[in-house]
């Protein structure tokens, strides 16, 4: 798991990850690359991350992957990421394709609703919390 200030260097990360995995006898390797879309008049997105809980969330997933002889990788941006740049990458390597396809899907979906990352639209150089697109974490409202 790696965090980068600003946009991700997709080529560098993709090639480094593949280089690390290719001789480990995995049969299927699936990266997922999230790219900031030019929409809703934003010039980009911005992110805050709470690392301690992100790390433990990722560790738990890595354990799950290990139980299926698989391996997970992830990179995310901190701060501002302009349109058409990548803010999020993840990848799974598995012995076989069926497991890899299943895992990248469930990993990315759980990432969206569980990873402690807050997203802001960049509009007129201001950070506007993307509240409507956000998902309350499990147990939300405990102190209400």
């Amino acid at each position: 798991m790696e965090l980068h200030r600003g946009p991700l260097n997709v080529d560098e990360i993709t090639n480094r990850w593949y280089g690390k995995l290719k001789d480990k006898n995995y049969g299927a390797y699936i990266p997922f690359i999230g790219i900031v879309r030019d929409e809703n008049k934003i010039s980009g997105l911005s992110f805050d991350i709470y690392e301690p809980i992100l790390n433990s969330w990722f560790k738990a997933w890595q354990e799950k992957a290990k139980n299926k002889d698989s391996y997970l990788l992830m990179a995310h941006s901190i701060g501002d990421v302009p349109n058409h740049c990548s803010s999020y990458m993840s990848a799974v390597a598995s012995p076989h394709r069926v497991e890899a396809l299943k895992m990248i899907s469930s990993f990315v979906e759980d990432f969206k609703v569980s990873a402690p990352i807050w997203k802001y639209d960049l509009i007129n150089k201001e950070r506007v919390y993307a509240k409507k697109r956000s998902t309350a974490l499990k147990g939300a409202g405990l102190l209400k």
């Binding site: 991350i49 709470y50 999020y88 990352i117 807050w118 956000s134 102190l143």
Partner: protein, 73 residues
Amino acid sequence: MAKVEFLGPINRESIHVDIKNLNDLKEMFKHDNELVEWLEICAVAVNDTLVSSIDIKIGKSDKISLLPPVCGG
């Protein structure tokens, strides 16, 4: 005193509080009008683990975090 941190878009400085459990914190925040709308949607972590019971005991060196709705990627 236990530390309370407000993560992400809540955009508040951390505070230190003298409480015995999360219920005390709930009582303390009850009249903080600005915080009320956050409390409805925030999850709570104690020492970086999400918790689901209001009765959890809080010690002097514990850290409580309020986590608003998330959207990575």
